[in-house]
């Protein structure tokens, strides 16, 4: 059932009678996935409007439509009462809507002041450097940014880039500023600075949309909170009327009863994987893993939960030998594998189903059969010594297509032409061709249809019961709770909680994921 919420804003500050932006019936599909399904949303001047939702709820899609980067399939956008149609971000900027993306859209070789002039058609044909600088300095000062507009963007820190990006939008006199997960890359001090900036902006009558995963920040800052789930608005209310527990429940959907998850009896197998105080470096000096220690036993499925970017991909890469930890050690079956190559990990029986299927799991210009052989080159079945038998590769592809139910099962078909679900069957089948010692499954069920999901779930269970240690990285609570025997929660590269499915709820996991500070 579709609901629509247009409550009048309850603002203690300046109240304007008309919303500055009205979104009605916004719908957008990516293939079979409805990212936005008839979304209605109003933005009022002088408010901070938080958009909450799990990954894939459609927040970024909706805001990208409002900012002109995506076209919509259906719906209307009214800005200050006028119907508009944005064909590009430039159109949206002209109408006063700007967005600061998670990945900076600035030109890194140019200075901050120059970036503020890029794309501005109102600039005179000949631009004076001094005027640009003066304007940039004035704006930076008004917002309290200690930012030198003469510096090149390439030299700026993440937080400074964000400030530069905000300045660039404000230079175009935006009335709506969208910030897509702006705090994800900031330190607490930088976050406090950003919040002060946001308050300054709304005092001047702009409205700010704030996309976030972080419940405590949202409650702290927002005037109004809208929760999206599976492409729909499921809740929209003034922040003062929102309780944290209710918001999490809205984000996660109806919380399942505890008894629904009865994990199989913990296997008493040997310890297969042992991580000790592992650290991994990320970009910009931010650690992507900090002091991670964990154990996985044979026959055990360990779930790893966390919001996007909490360190899951770094963990998967470290476990697969694709990234060497900067500190700490990895033991597989008691052998120290720290710093060894991905090839050595594979030969040790560690197999990996990567989250980025097309980008990492397959070579798309090669055939189904060749991709089936991709990670089995050393296998004697494929040819003696250095030789590769085309017939053996072909048979491997045909066998895999048959056993995994891949349709059409033509081993010569280019992987580029296969659907995402089919590619996943191919990868899962390939990585589990022989029962691995350890399997890392990163978002293995993401975007699969019901049948394929059941297939992969059954495969994971079967592997566990035959003694494989499995690390299951997922964002789906139902999957984590129904498949794993234990769940660890990552938050900013650290393990912040360990839960047993029979002793926890999706709500509890949801709160864990949002960081140690947010408690209902």
């Amino acid at each position: 059932m579709r609901q629509s919420f247009h409550p009048a804003p309850q603002l203690s500050r300046e109240v304007t009678l008309d919303p500055v932006v009205e979104l009605r019936g916004i719908t957008k599909s990516f293939g079979p996935v409805k990212a936005n399904d008839h979304i209605d949303l109003d933005l009022w001047p002088g408010e901070i409007h938080a958009l909450l939702g799990a990954n894939g709820a459609g927040k970024s899609t909706l805001m990208s439509i409002l900012a002109g980067s995506y076209s919509m399939d259906a719906g209307t956008i009214r800005v200050r009462g006028r119907s508009t149609c944005f064909r590009s971000p430039a159109d949206a900027l002209k109408a006063g809507i700007g967005m600061v993306y998670q990945h900076s859209m600035l030109l890194s070789r140019m200075t901050v002041a120059e970036n503020m002039a890029v794309g501005d058609r109102s600039m005179p044909r000949i631009v004076r450097r001094r005027e640009l600088l003066a304007r940039a300095s004035a704006m930076a000062e008004r917002l309290g940014f200690p930012l030198d507009p003469q510096r090149r963007v390439a030299e700026l820190s993440v937080a400074e880039r964000q400030q530069a990006d905000i300045l660039r939008n404000l230079a175009r006199e935006v009335v709506v500023l969208i910030l897509d997960e702006p705090t994800a890359v900031l330190t607490p001090q930088e976050t406090a600075g950003l919040f002060a900036t946001m308050r300054t902006l709304i005092r001047d009558g702009a409205s700010v949309v704030f996309i976030s995963h972080r419940l405590d920040e949202v409650l702290h800052l927002a005037d109004r909170i809208t929760v999206l789930r599976q492409g729909r608005v499921v809740h929209s209310a003034p922040a003062v009327a929102c309780a944290p527990g209710d918001l999490v429940a809205h984000m996660m959907g109806s919380p399942a009863a505890r008894s629904e998850y009865s994990s199989p009896a913990p296997a008493p197998g040997r310890v297969v994987l042992k991580l000790q105080h592992v650290q991994a470096d990320g970009l910009h000096g931010v650690q992507s893993l900090t002091d991670v220690s964990l154990e996985v036993r044979a026959g055990e499925i360990l779930g790893v939960a966390g919001v996007a970017g909490a360190g899951q991909s770094a963990l998967a890469e470290v476990l697969a030998g694709l990234r060497a930890p900067s500190a700490g050690s990895i033991l597989v079956d008691g052998d120290d594998m720290t710093g060894m190559s991905a090839h050595r990990f594979r030969m040790r029986g560690v197999r990996y189903v990567p989250g980025d299927r097309r980008g990492r799991g397959v070579a798309q210009d090669l055939s189904l059969a060749e991709n089936a052989a991709l990670t089995w080159l050393h296998h004697p079945r494929l040819g003696r010594g250095h030789w590769l038998s085309r017939g053996a590769v072909w048979r491997m592809g045909a066998d895999l297509a048959r056993s995994e139910g891949i349709e059409p099962g033509d081993p010569g078909r280019l992987v580029r032409l296969l659907s995402g679900g089919t590619i996943q069957k191919l990868i899962v089948g390939r990585e589990t061709l022989q029962c691995p010692v350890m399997l890392i499954a990163e978002y293995p069920l993401h975007g699969l249809d019901v049948q394929a999901t059941g297939f992969v779930e059954a495969r994971l269970r079967a592997l566990a019961s035959s003694g494989t240690a499995i690390v299951l990285i997922s964002e789906d609570f139902d999957q984590l709770l129904s498949l794993s025997q234990r769940i660890v929660v990552l938050f900013r590269g650290r393990i912040v909680a360990q839960r047993r499915p029979e002793a926890t709820t999706p709500l509890q996991l949801g709160l864990d994921m949002l960081g140690p500070r947010s408690t209902p």
Binding site: A74, D365, E370, L414
Partner: protein, 363 residues
């Protein structure tokens, strides 16, 4: 209202590709014909010289094959590097490096009691390999663009050859011309009686077969093809991508260096400055038109051999050789255009006035 729309075409057959290339060459020749007529030149006569003489006369045919040999080897060199997305545009420099090493062996080494020609080829391969290994190692270890380093390598090798021809290696029996002395007889590759065609042709065709087998029949070749398609998948699968990249560059340089050795040992029998009419650059076109497939390289090289031989015939007729360049350019452009167009399926759709997509509101 009728509107032309384009659909992306998936999956192309070898037949489709062959027809595309043949058709586009036809279009290019037609355009060239009109161009020649417009320039006031007897186009029919020019085409006879350009196409019939190289293919229809025995002298022309052998000459075409002679010209195709260095193109086969350099074309293979470029193709194998491009397969792994290593943009080696330095086949020309590697060819000169090979030629220099071959010259050194031919003129300045003592007689080992062995025929010199095979030793020259080995030395040429080694020199080309070294010339390409430098950009390969720089790319793999420091991430330096191989495009720039291979390109610079061309200038260095060509100028070193110039220097040697004008200076230290200038021959005593060349009447003051800047070139080396003629190589001793045992430095020549065997030629077919009465022609300039030499066994280098077999070397080229064998290399083409060997490279095909290496890429499609060995595990190492498989790894190279995976890395060329998706380097992240290759890393994920545990392949040693950086090492393979260096090996591919060395292999590429070996083939290009061999082209230099074969050309000197088989045809010129001495080192001359600027002896290559840009074989290493034409090789990029050869490799690209062959779709980086080793077995297609000799065929495409033969076609370019026709153009080169025909160009000489045109010059004999008194027509500027730049016309040949124009024709080559036309053929390449139309093949590339046809190649891009073949990815798309065109269709006319009829638009009803009311068929504007729903929900888009215009001001």
């Amino acid at each position: 209202m009728r509107r032309l729309i384009f659909h992306r075409r998936h999956g192309r057959s070898a037949l489709h590709d062959s027809l595309t290339i043949a058709g586009s060459i036809g279009v290019a020749l037609l355009a060239g014909y009109l161009f020649l007529e417009a320039s006031g030149i007897d186009a029919a006569g020019a085409y006879r010289a350009l196409l019939v003489d190289p293919l229809g006369t025995s002298y022309g045919f052998f000459e075409t094959l002679v010209k195709a040999i260095p193109l086969i080897l350099t074309g293979l060199a470029v193709a194998v590097a491009f397969r792994m997305r290593l943009w080696n545009i330095g086949a020309e420099g590697q060819l000169y490096a090979g030629a220099l090493a071959a010259t050194y062996v031919a003129l300045f080494t003592p007689d080992f009691g062995l025929p010199r020609a095979p030793l020259m080829l080995v030395a040429a391969c080694a020199a080309g390999a070294v010339w390409a290994a430098v950009p390969g190692v720089l790319r793999a270890t420091l991430g330096v663009s191989e495009i720039l380093v291979t390109l610079m390598g061309n200038y260095v090798a060509i100028l070193v050859a110039d220097h040697l021809c004008y200076g230290p290696w200038k021959g005593k029996t060349t009447f003051g011309f800047p070139m080396s002395d003629r190589f001793p007889d045992d430095a020549a590759l065997p030629a077919f009686a009465g022609t300039r065609l030499h066994v280098g042709l077999f070397v080229g065709v064998l290399c083409s077969l060997a490279l095909w087998a290496l890429l499609w029949r060995t595990k190492w070749g498989f790894q190279v093809r995976v890395a060329g398609s998706n380097v992240r998948a290759a890393e994920y699968a545990g392949y040693r991508v950086k090492r393979d990249a260096v090996v591919v560059m060395i292999l590429s340089g070996t083939l290009a260096g061999m082209a230099g050795g074969v050309e000197l040992s088989g045809v010129l029998h001495r080192l001359q400055p600027r002896f290559s009419p840009g074989y290493g650059y034409t090789a990029i076109l050869v490799a690209w038109l062959a779709r980086l497939h080793p077995l297609a390289v000799p065929l495409v090289a033969f076609l370019f051999g026709v153009l080169l031989t025909g160009g000489e015939q045109l010059q004999v007729m008194g027509i500027s050789s730049s016309l040949v360049d124009v024709l080559q350019g036309l053929i390449l452009l139309s093949v590339l255009a046809a190649d891009a167009a073949a990815n798309w399926r065109m269709a006319w759709v009829v638009h009803q006035g009311s068929a504007l997509s729903e929900g888009v509101v215009h001001d």
